[in-house]
Assembly symmetry: C2
Homo-oligomer: 182 residues x 2
Amino acid sequence: MNILFRNANLKDLPEIVRMLADDFLGGQRERYEDPLPESYVRAFREIDADPNNELIVAVRQAASTVGDASGAQLKGTDRDEAHAGETPAVQSEMVGMMQLTFTPSISFQGGKRATVESVRVDSKNRGQGIGERMMRWAIERAKEKGCVSMQLTTNLERTDAHRFYERLGFSRSHLGMKLKLQ
Amino acid sequence: MNILFRNANLKDLPEIVRMLADDFLGGQRERYEDPLPESYVRAFREIDADPNNELIVAVRQAASTVGDASGAQLKGTDRDEAHAGETPAVQSEMVGMMQLTFTPSISFQGGKRATVESVRVDSKNRGQGIGERMMRWAIERAKEKGCVSMQLTTNLERTDAHRFYERLGFSRSHLGMKLKLQ
């Protein structure tokens, strides 16, 4: 499976909100409507403008549409030749999303941290290892940014997620606490 | 007790690192040395330059040194008169620190979150309600920045801290997981 990871753009936003809403917790707190509530667009623009925040989408692509950006090689084919005179069939589909935040910090001898939030794999695309590939990509991205650690919080009710992250090497070291302000 | 909350400056950094190191977990991971390792200074400058990160120090001030910046009133005295011809005794002392991070986010209908990390009250100044005043200040600051929620993670071993945050209204809703990258 060819998966391209890239920064989300504004056109991805409805699909992102759909994915957030398609969840037993998210369903209660998101508004997946057409047009989207303006607050989503505002938040998107803030993330987009902040070098310490990256909203990442995972896009599955048919082999014929994979370009250099995915890092994948098209072995044994000459793409230009194969598609000479054709309009390539675009079969890309967003299959996952996540937000990465890079936080400079004094503790740990001034070690920068990466936080991953809003990790979602599209419900009809689960069980194919997409979540694992997303997290491995996120870990490499955090290393690239010089982070000494990656952290996340996951709702106590998401017990499958706890096991998933543990398999990736995360340790259950902290209690995550939240306070609503509004 | 008059406490002034302000953004840390570079001169506060040794005291900040001392406070982080004076801790059963921090003692194993910080280097409180003279001169400070350069990595601390680098991290300080990154935080200082980032509008979404605030390194806050709590400074206790003797009444005679409290100015307008603290928001406190010197009731019933005329400060200029009382100190005419004197150099006021400067008795300010850093008693606490914390880092606030404001994260734009798509989830919760584009609701911005505040995260508080590295919350420390100086060991010889505990039991006086300073931590609570710091957190109440942080909550107001997060509201000012338009955040819909405040979140934190606290090591599973810090059971006193869990009760402390619960008293302030935080709920134990999440598991906090960490992965070392270096």
